[in-house]
């Protein structure tokens, strides 16, 4: 009885079985990478806002401290988005008639809030607290990137759990002295790991990776 399959069928079968493993593995890698990509995380995608507010202008140009607007960053989980009143502190004098600022003046007049699009949007089951991070020497730019170079705000990091855990597992790679937390021009020293270890000990930074640290 002659063979039904040609000899080469053996090779094809071997290759395709072997290939299938790689194909599936590749597919999984692809999925994971898609999941990490800006397409999913929307990182580095500038958002439309009701007012074209430029952090670049206000931070780099005018040298305003983060805390002038984000007042509760040291006290609360929420860093705080400034009330219209804060904008009007200056803009009742500067660019008081600019058409770009009409929504601000309108809000101040009518008492209706400006509705900003949230840029850093954690899922509802994640409880992040700004105040403790700032207190333990995590700089603003460590997570938010060079805000002073963002004309429109975008999300610098992926905000995915592995990104959080990266620092929670080895904080010495990222912490900086408390005095430099709000400096946008802070540059990591070459001996970061050494400095980090010292700060971790000094600030009693814990490596908190229990689920209930963030989820509850």
């Amino acid at each position: 009885m002659s063979q039904i399959f040609h000899r080469s069928a053996n090779t094809i079968a071997r290759v395709s079985i072997f290939g299938a493993v790689f194909f599936i593995a590749g597919l999984l890698v692809l999925l994971a990478e898609v999941n990490r990509s800006p397409w999913m995380t929307e990182s580095r995608v500038a958002r439309e806002q009701p007012i074209q507010f430029s952090h670049e202008r206000h931070v780099a140009g005018n040298g305003i401290d983060c805390r002038y607007c984000h007042t509760s960053v040291e006290d609360s989980s929420f860093a705080g988005v400034p009330p219209t009143k804060t904008c009007m502190n200056c803009h009742s004098q500067i660019f008081a008639n600019s058409p770009f600022l009409e929504p601000v003046r309108d809000s101040f007049r009518t008492g209706r809030s400006i509705q900003w699009t949230r840029v850093h949007d954690l899922p509802d089951f994640v409880y992040f607290n700004h105040s403790i991070h700032v207190n333990k020497g995590v700089g603003c730019t460590t997570c938010h990137g060079q805000v002073d170079r963002m004309p429109l705000m975008w999300q610098e990091s992926s905000l995915q759990m592995e990104w959080c855990l990266d620092c929670h597992r080895s904080p010495e790679r990222y912490v900086r002295p408390r005095g430099a937390v709000f400096r946008v021009d802070y540059v990591e020293p070459p001996d970061q790991i050494e400095l980090g270890r010292r700060l971790v000990a000094e600030y009693q930074i814990q490596r908190l990776t229990s689920c209930s640290t963030c989820h509850r």
């Binding site: 999913m40 007042t71 509760s72 006290d75 609360s76 989980s77 929420f78 705080g80 988005v81 400034p82 009330p83 219209t84 009143k85 809000s107 101040f108 008492g111 209706r112 809030s113 400006i114 509705q115 900003w116 699009t117 949230r118 949007d121 899922p123 509802d124 089951f125 409880y127 607290n129 105040s131 403790i132 207190n135 333990k136 009693q204 814990q206 908190l208 229990s210 689920c211 209930s212 640290t213 989820h215 509850r216």
Partner: protein, 1040 residues
């Protein structure tokens, strides 16, 4: 091959346990034993049938695939809405706390309310308020849901049409103008008990302007007989305040003084503080004579179940045994009013026995002995004893209690009398009767009903609804568009107490300013504003009215607001901050029992035969007189003792039920231990009848039924309507709290009751531990008889190091009064959904904390113990090892973290949990759509969705908040800084939470005590929550 039932595992042959949760368990009923092991008895066939299994697998596969698809969602874009002008003291993301007060039945409790950016989300007690000391009752805990209730009356209605407030102002001012020449002869105001000095002043102002107008009061939650008793004994209305801290021996005459009523929160704290067996000589002793078993009776060292009418006779008997003023009825001359020292203790005991034989027929020797022992004990503790009469008992019994207290020299020590907290104490039954008579006579032109629901709550023989229709103009201010609103021309939405300015007196007279936490959600008006609308300055705000009253210009109605007085301003701010106005507690009044009161003390009519069935009307422990009937948290709360939810029932003793040949046994149907299928019976009482489900209560006296009011609402919201039956339909003015001659007729229909007593039975294990004082003092280890906790070395798993904090909890079973405040507190703090009766029938209630009720001893009068069971946070947690997705994991501080976003709903953890404390969202229980309900949620806790397991987390949000605060200040968390929601609500201070790594912490010390035990310790789960065994202080003369 069909397997009928799973075999009962192991050597657990039916045996009679010392403690039991159901009579079947006590009897060692094999059916019950089997039921304990079959979680889903109705599913047994399906599980063993191969065809059904195949269908199951198909469905399972499909659901898995579909569940995977639903996981692929992207987050929708969200907006941030900042303030335009941010309030000065508000930090977004950090809650603020404001002091206010909640009034109930004419007495206020001071509260602290948590507010997140202007939304009240959680209510706690005010530690500075003498009536709270930081704790609350269930009603205060549930008030948040009451505020956001979407069924609240939302618009001002005139005959069903929406009208503006100005239209009402026009109508009422026209009506009042017409009344002016008549001096208000046709004007009637009907209020509930008023404990607001400002409101009372406003009403008195109105009455001054209309001298012929009348002010009536009717408040089913307030205490008609208590007032009557005081009037009878002292000739004036005074309030009794009890000092449980000073009392060594307490006798309760049908009084649930720890569980409900004015000051009960404070009393529970004081009482529990004297129950610690570690200080055995300070332990107090409580005797309780009661009809319906209550929290107080459960904590009593000796309890005597009696029909309500018999309690008066016992009270007289004890009075005469003590040689007190109860001379008339007994015919003995025992001594006059001043007879402080009449008879030594032995003599009193002996004469009591003879008196008992002579006066009271039908008391068994056992009861006579009981009376003797109690009398002797009271006599031996002159000046440190206390007799308390219950709200349901007639005025005569209250007067007797006052007399006994005076004769024992307790006045000024364990009981003090003060002027009444109510602004205008009166006989409310007569007050309502007069109003009905006037309406029937056509004398009422304008009737303004300020709060309350008299159409529903008035005694049936008053025919209030018929009379009401004869009033020409009817105005009703209320939270709900209810039965009374339906018959009124104007329905004014009332502002909730969290939305309104007011003031209120606590149980000792302390004034609290009630400040609003939020602007009225639906434009509601407070009673102050309604009364102002009837004055000549109709548009004054409640804030101005209250402030003006306290600023000194006070009651005067015509004076303009006083000039801004800086000193007053400062103290006003202080009052608002503290929640109490200093030095406003009433000073003790010097009152004497009227020497000649006794002749008027009539024993309850004895026209009925001894075996007549008596009916006992009580306010419901959850929904009270029906005012909280639309509150889902309270409806679903298992009531103390009965553990019924969503219904009231005809409560009888098992013997009485047997006599009726009716049953209320569990049907063992449905999942997780099923439901009660019981007989529907008809109660016939004085030519009126109502149908309700029969339910047996152990410890209830025979030939007596108890019915709870507040159910069977026909109008008042979608939660309230349709639950239970309306006991008011057979309640008449001459038998307001109890009466004899009720007839129980079987209807041969069945009814399902959602009772949680049979749920989460822990397979018949996990019993409470209890001992007596003497046994405990002799050998503290005796409470742990039969304990099989293995040594800590026996485990395959490595021990976790707990380097920082090690959280733990100690629950004192000896202090727990089973009031349920912890359960509602937990529900409010942790966004726990309400599931509805149908789901409770399937054993799917979601409470993270349950209060298990255990009994021991005789079936007709058992000892009762409450054991609250939250998640034990085991160190060797059975749940953690079986989760396939790592959704429940051990934290470095020893919590069993529950990660909702990881949970895929396999429910293995729940299956493996021996304590049965995990709760699964079988359906989408949480209301995600109703906007007002979203406002009330705790923003610090995830709102869970369908298909997710959840459980107690030791309030990890509070732990994290405190840890962050302490870290920022570079210090460890202080002991007592973190209070879990259940701990904070507990009136009896039974729950203590803290860091076990700190040997100085309260919880570490409690866990080190001799009577500390771990629930199911034999399983080597090493629970972090442990219990302190109950220790009863029995009288050796009576024995156990």
């Amino acid at each position: 091959m069909k397997q009928k039932t799973r075999p009962v595992p192991g050597p657990r042959s039916p045996r009679k346990p010392a403690f039991w949760r159901a009579l079947e368990e006590r009897a060692g009923d094999p059916a019950f034993q089997e039921h304990l092991y079959n979680e889903f008895p109705s599913e047994i066939e399906a599980i063993s049938d191969p065809v059904a299994r195949r269908t199951f697998l198909k469905l399972m596969g499909a659901s898995l695939a579909l569940a995977g698809v639903t996981g692929c969602t992207r987050q929708p874009a969200e907006t941030i809405v900042p303030y335009v002008r941010q309030p000065e003291d508000l930090i977004p993301g950090r809650p603020l706390f404001y002091a206010t007060a909640m009034s109930l039945g004419g007495v206020a409790t001071g509260l602290l309310v948590e507010s997140h950016e202007g939304r009240p989300t959680k209510i706690e007690g005010n530690p500075l308020h003498p009536g709270s000391l930081g704790a609350t009752d269930v009603f205060a805990q549930a008030a948040v849901l009451g505020l956001y209730d979407p069924d609240r009356s939302q618009t001002l209605l005139n005959l069903g049409d929406i009208r503006p407030w100005s239209a009402f102002l026009g109508t009422i001012s026209a009506a009042l103008t017409a009344q002016r020449p008549l001096e208000g002869a046709g004007l009637r105001i009907l209020t509930e008990s008023v404990n607001s000095p400002t409101l009372a002043a406003q009403i008195r102002d109105l009455l001054a302007r209309f001298p012929s107008a009348k002010w009536h009061q009717w408040d089913p939650a307030s205490r008609e007989h208590v007032r009557g008793g005081a009037k009878l004994a002292f000739g004036e209305y005074v309030d009794a305040q009890y000092r449980f801290g000073q009392a060594d021996v307490i006798l309760s005459l049908d009084a649930d003084v720890l569980g409900c009523g004015p000051g009960s929160i404070r009393y529970a704290r004081d009482f529990a503080a004297r129950r610690r067996p570690e200080q055995a000589d300070r332990m107090n002793r409580l005797y309780a004579i009661e009809s319906m078993p209550t929290s107080t009776g459960a904590r009593a060292d000796h309890r005597l179940p009696l029909k309500p009418s018999a309690i008066a006779r016992i009270a007289r008997e004890i009075a005469s045994a003590l040689g007190e003023a109860g001379k008339s009825g007994s015919g003995r001359s025992g001594g006059s009013g001043e007879s402080g020292g009449a008879g030594g203790s032995g003599g009193a005991g002996a004469s009591g026995a003879t008196g008992g034989a002579a006066v009271v027929q039908g008391f068994s020797p056992a009861i006579a002995k009981w009376i003797d022992a109690v009398a002797e004990d009271l006599q031996a503790h002159r000046g440190s004893s206390l007799v308390v009469a219950g709200d349901g008992q007639p005025p005569a019994v209250h007067a007797l209690a006052h007399g006994i207290n005076q004769a024992l020299g307790n006045v000024g020590k364990t009981v003090v009398y003060t002027q009444s907290v109510e602004a205008e104490p009166t006989n409310q039954l007569d007050s309502l009767r007069d109003l009905v008579a006037d309406m029937n006579a056509g004398k009422v032109d304008v009737l303004v009903i300020v709060g309350g629901n008299p159409v529903y709550t008035a005694p049936a023989d008053f025919r209030f609804a018929e009379a009401l229709n004869k009033a020409l103009l009817r105005v009703h201010l209320s939270l709900y568009d209810d039965e009374t609103s339906a018959l009124c021309h104007w329905q004014i939405p009332e502002a909730h107490f969290l939305e309104a300015w007011s003031d209120a007196r606590g149980y000792d007279g302390t004034v609290s300013i009630v400040q609003p936490l939020i602007a009225p959600l639906y434009g509601g008006k407070s009673a102050h504003e309604l009364l102002a609308a009837m004055s000549d300055r109709p548009e004054r705000s409640a804030h101005d009215i209250v402030r003006e009253f306290w600023s000194g210009s006070g009651s005067s109605r015509t004076l303009p607001a006083p000039p801004a007085n800086e000193e007053f301003d400062a103290s006003w701010r202080r009052w608002l901050h503290d929640g109490v106005v200093p030095n406003t507690a009433f000073a003790p009044a010097r009152v004497q029992v009227v020497p000649g009161f006794s002749p008027t003390v009539e024993p309850t009519p004895t026209t009925h035969a001894a075996d007549d069935i008596e009916i006992n009307f009580r306010n419901d422990p959850s929904v009270l007189d029906g005012r909280f009937a639309n509150n889902g948290w309270l409806q679903e709360l298992p009531k103390p003792i009965t553990r019924l939810t969503w219904d009231n029932a005809v409560l009888v003793s098992p013997a009485t039920a047997a006599k009726l040949r009716a049953a209320g046994s569990p049907a063992f149907q449905g999942g997780e231990h099923g439901q009660i299928i019981t007989d529907l019976v008809e109660l016939r009482y004085r030519a009126r009848s109502v149908r309700g489900a029969l339910f047996t209560v152990v410890g209830h006296p025979d030939d007596c039924v108890t019915v709870h009011l507040g159910y069977g609402r026909s109008r008042g919201g979608r939660v309230a309507t349709g639950a239970g039956f309306n006991a008011n339909a057979i309640r008449t003015s001459d038998a307001l709290s109890f009466g004899a001659g009720v007839e129980i007729v079987r209807t041969f229909e069945k009814f399902s009751l959602a009772c949680t007593q049979y749920h989460h039975l822990m397979e018949g294990r996990g019993m409470v531990r209890a001992s007596t004082r003497d046994a405990y003092v002799r050998d503290p280890k005796s409470v742990h008889e039969g304990d099989e906790t293995p040594p800590r070395t026996i485990t395959l798993y490595p021990n976790y190091p707990y380097e920082g904090y090690k959280w733990g909890m100690a629950i004192d079973v000896n202090a727990c009064i089973g009031c349920n405040a912890c359960v509602v507190g937990c529900q409010s703090e942790n966004n726990i959904p309400v599931v509805g009766k149908d789901q409770v029938l399937r054993g799917r209630e979601m409470h993270w904390l349950r209060v298990d009720t255990y009994y021991r001893g005789r079936a007709d009068n058992p000892e009762t113990y409450f054991q609250p069971v939250p998640c034990m946070q085991c160190e060797n947690a059975p749940c953690e090892v079986v989760c396939p997705v790592g959704a429940t994991a051990h934290s470095h501080e020893g919590l069993n973290d529950m990660v909702y976003n990881r949970c895929v709903g396999t429910r293995y953890c729940s299956d493996n949990c021996p304590y049965k404390v995990r709760r699964f969202n079988f359906l989408l229980y949480q209301d995600w759509n109703t906007p007002s309900l979203r406002l009330g949620r705790n923003p610090d806790v995830t709102v869970r969705s369908r298909g997710v397991m959840e459980k107690c987390t030791y309030c990890v949000q509070r732990i994290n908040a405190a840890k962050i605060d302490s870290e920022k200040e570079s210090r460890p968390v202080r002991d007592g800084e973190i209070k879990t929601a259940c701990q904070q609500a507990c009136p009896a201070d039974a729950i203590v939470f803290g860091n076990l790594n700190d040997p100085a912490s309260r919880v570490a010390k409690l866990q080190a005590e001799e009577r500390s035990y771990a629930l199911l310790g034999e399983l080597n789960t090493r629970p972090r929550t442990t219990y302190l065994a109950a220790v009863r202080n029995v009288n050796p003369a009576l024995g156990e």
